[in-house]
Symmetry: D2
Subunit: 350 residues, 4 copies
């Protein structure tokens, strides 16, 4: 730890996003975890609820007090449920804290979309205007030097990294985009309900929120911006009986004749220098386990001449690249550090 290390706090430390932030930041050379915060278990050691942290992270949990946080830390990660960040972030910003918000509250620029898809009251407009959408591979320049980053959603990350280059290149019909997404169960968080009950999910595969998931407008917002005109997409999330991992299998109508090799080249150029995006050789496809517990997003292609469609497959670890890892990537870019600092975890395999 150098003297120049940045002191950070984590609100929502007892959620899965929070403990993943701890796992990552404990190894980050420029960061010191100054406070782990949870509204529910103040005063308890964090390792009491997460024994894997025994003898690794011995801190007790602090309460959510913006002034106190500002006295301890310069930057705060809010890994809080939707609706909580909406209220909390303006207070944190008011204290002069830098904020990286892992919730969905500040991702949608149009408040009416937020109200419609999240079923919450609109968020604070000033805060919303400050929020920079932290998909570094596309908005890294905007992220740099900012104070408030809204960290992308897990599904949106996998979908956008896979779909944005081909749309931007004008190779597909923008009205034809279909995203069939599959996620491990950890994406649902640690809260208990029948929907995450082991015996209900194990040996089971199911869809949920069909045509109604709140990451839909987030995906559309970015694609529309890249396309220059409104884009709507069909999006279906499913639950896979595994803990970590997201795959998006995406379909679009081709407007031009391209080969898998052309797409590999296009994507490699688009993501040149972007260490966490890995393009698969033509004819091979990524699997979720190949990015397990890492910050990579792997992408593969299959152009089908019979149907004149392209199938694009992208995978991420939802807890890492889909949440905590990407948040640390945003931290690095915000601070002007090398994007991959402290994030070069090799995927755990098998």
């Amino acid at each position: 730890m150098t003297e120049a290390s940045l002191k950070v706090a984590i609100i929502g430390s007892t959620g899965y996003g929070g403990v993943e932030l701890i796992r990552i930041l404990l190894q980050h050379p420029q960061v010191e975890i100054a406070s782990v915060i949870s509204a529910s278990s103040v005063g308890e050691p964090i390792a009491a609820g997460y024994p894997h942290l025994n003898e690794i992270m011995c801190d007790t949990l602090d309460g959510v007090d913006p002034k106190e946080i500002a006295s301890k830390a310069e930057l705060v990660f809010t890994a809080t449920p939707t609706g909580v960040s909406a209220k909390l972030v303006p207070q944190l910003l008011a204290e002069g804290l830098k904020v990286i918000d892992l919730s969905g509250d500040f991702r949608l620029k149009d408040s009416s979309d937020y109200v419609k898809w999240y079923k919450h009251d609109p968020v604070d407009e000033d805060a919303l205007e400050q929020a920079v959408y932290g998909l570094c591979e596309w908005y890294g320049e905007q992220v740099q030097g900012q104070s408030f980053i809204s960290n992308p959603g897990c599904y949106a990350t996998a979908a956008l990294l896979g779909m944005a280059p081909i749309l931007k290149a004008g190779l597909i019909d923008p009205d034809s985009v279909i995203i069939d997404a599959k996620s491990g169960v950890s994406g649902a968080g640690r809260g208990v309900n029948l929907g995450v009950h082991f015996s209900e999910l194990n040996e089971n595969f199911k869809a949920y929120k069909v045509n109604a998931h709140q990451h839909t407008p987030e995906i559309e917002q970015v694609l529309s911006e890249l396309h220059g005109k409104p884009v709507t997409v069909t999006f279906t999330p499913h639950l896979v009986p595994m803990t970590r991992g997201i795959m998006c299998t995406m379909y679009a109508k081709l407007k031009a004749q391209v080969s898998n090799e052309d797409l590999v080249k296009l994507y490699q150029e688009q993501y040149a220098g972007r260490r966490f995006v890995r393009i698969r050789p033509a004819g091979t496809y990524p699997a979720t386990k190949e990015v397990y517990a890492s910050n990579y997003c792997d992408i593969g292609f299959s152009v089908d001449e019979r149907t004149n469609r392209v199938t694009i497959l992208s995978v991420i670890d939802n807890v890492m690249k889909g949440a905590a890892g990407q948040a640390v990537q945003n931290l690095n870019v915000m601070m002007g550090w090398e994007e991959s600092t402290g994030l070069l975890f090799t995927p755990v395999y098998p």
Copy 2:
């Protein structure tokens, strides 16, 4: 067992389809298993390789000898690998045996499709002409009284039962069909290779044979017939870290304004009297576990006004409705018995 019981043989008894046939037929009131046959383990008790059959099925395995089979049985199930049935079935038919073939060898009416997608030599044309495609919910009348049934593929079954009614009703653009399919690993059979290695698949989700799976032309053949013109579809199979179950999530562009309720009504009418197809109430979706170890196919819908697309979800148990259960359903219909005889297994839940 009544005196009128039919004596059947099962070739390929040591595969997953074969043992599932045994599980079903042991409870079938009209059938007697006269011979269990395996090319590889002749003379061994079938329970030696499948201890779950101890004290339930004590037979030893017979060899593959058409004449001997004909001396013991009237009908034979061929649960053999692709390419094996092609050679075997004509010999069995020549012995006067009725045949229900669970392989893919006799599903495609156009030999060039078979050669292209299966990478095998063309099958015997006489046998192919005799073969009736045994998707009972659509071709039950043709199945009745026949001698040779080609049992549909697992993916094709889930896809066709879910997609055929809306296509036939003219409600969708036939060029817009996309089928995103997910299967439990048992669909790959019992043969060993790295692709079915536990540590490679567990906590993993992956696609395979993207735009190249041999069930694609099978689906297209039936949809084209119903539509009256050629239909091509985009089809992506994936492996889910579970043993049993298939879900097809299917997408199409709507040509007319319909509601979920309209679709429920349409499908209920189409499948009236078809006991194994269950239509979900509007706004609810099936999960694979809800048909586990049963012969049901459950179907749900989501019409999306934003994109003017419909999402159709259908689930089956791949070993049962996708293979052995459907084969017994074909047996029942062939013989003029009630379609559900011996097949009313309640799904195992949880």
Copy 3:
């Protein structure tokens, strides 16, 4: 369904034991389900919470009213949580109903054991005296013709069927019995809590209630009775990341020189005519999947001359033989029907 069919009610129909009773009884030739009962969801169709029952079981849930139950049914299964049966069963018996209780409330003959291990008030002494412990393979004669059966616990069933014969035969030191038990997660029921959260259990193996599980005194009670003197055992339950299945790996010091073959013979004789106990050939061991969704208990042995100990392995399906299947077995024996009536489900494999 013959006219002579018995009308039964199921209290606790919305638990896993309850729906398994439904799955079994729907196929039972002598039984009619007259009422499905749940304290929590009265008036709702049972299929609303369990869509796998759509079009199979269309009943709505009745409330818990002993008089009303008595007007509809002759026998009632109480698949209720511990503590609930204690209060309910005396009322049901008072209405002249036959009762098979799947809870643990009436298994321990000594009230002080119940108070100590279950942390509940003592149960009604009159009811307790009427209760016959329904481990049919050992107490079938006592079960016959009775009105109130206490159905054994899942762990106790696997442990006792595996350990009782060798203890009764005097071949082991009764002070040396150690039972290392492993269960699928469905044994914990459908209630939600962090202990059954998918992401906490998947890819995880853990112990719980070490030396403190309430099935310990149940096992000891039976072993003590067979031995003629008090026996204490060490018992450790563990959770396996799977839904169904229990294995007990049991250890004891041998007092005599015996071979695996001797044990196979001893057990085959002890369980002669007992269809649901299957003894493995010497040198082979059972796996939980080999009894999946069936009523079998498979048992194997390994005598170790180096240590002069025997290892006994027994497996059951916890929801079936460990709960609902055994309850129906008790029903059959109570009523004087063939023990296996309606219970000959072949294990689902794979």
Copy 4:
């Protein structure tokens, strides 16, 4: 990477132990991977068979040539199958290479035990004499400065770390030790066979090599040495339907009256300064997931006054602490580096 970094080679790089070594060593500040070696895929990029290493480890696989290895590296890890190391290690030592052998070939000091339990010819006696058994927490001083380390077996590691202190302290009857072990499937390696077929293991729990596993004499060898007299143990390995993790549930008769708190104290003292052993507070038990993908061994206790037995539970990640992580720990101690260098991976949770 400092100039003082050690060049190492990995023989068996395409096995699970090999790729885990790569994952660890890529982050090790003192080590440079000079050669990845595999007998089977010479010349191929290692990432071809392990796409999770794409863009992370771009090396191609070298052949097994001791002279060439010696020209590139100073130390070699042999993550080779049993029987292969036996032949290879003497050649590597002859070239002046330091060796850390992850196979079982050089663990048993008595050749006749090796022949009996491993069913191989005896290994080279000179090499065997040089081999130091690398259980650092017990033999760290012997490891330091040595040239040839035999890395402990996965089961043996979990068993010994949990059982050695209480035996050494004289608190248990040495004839009473029973070890009931459970392992994730990755312990079986990447080789394909029916025993690691997904559909056979998923939703299944089974025992194997009961009283016949080759880690038994390894455990006995160490316990006997600590006890000063021969100790025999009963050992049962089981397969859990998960990829990583081992739990040993161990039982012994107490010779003295001790409390859980006493044991916590005893173990904390025994393992003082040993960073990778974590002792659980009295009354709590470790779960395998709490050490996932890390080098920790967590240990908990339950003294049972009723039976006068103690139950000890220890967990490790079999691929990490049970193989590659422990090998790197041995490397660190051999070289005189801090034991935990490059090994402080926080467990991946969930």
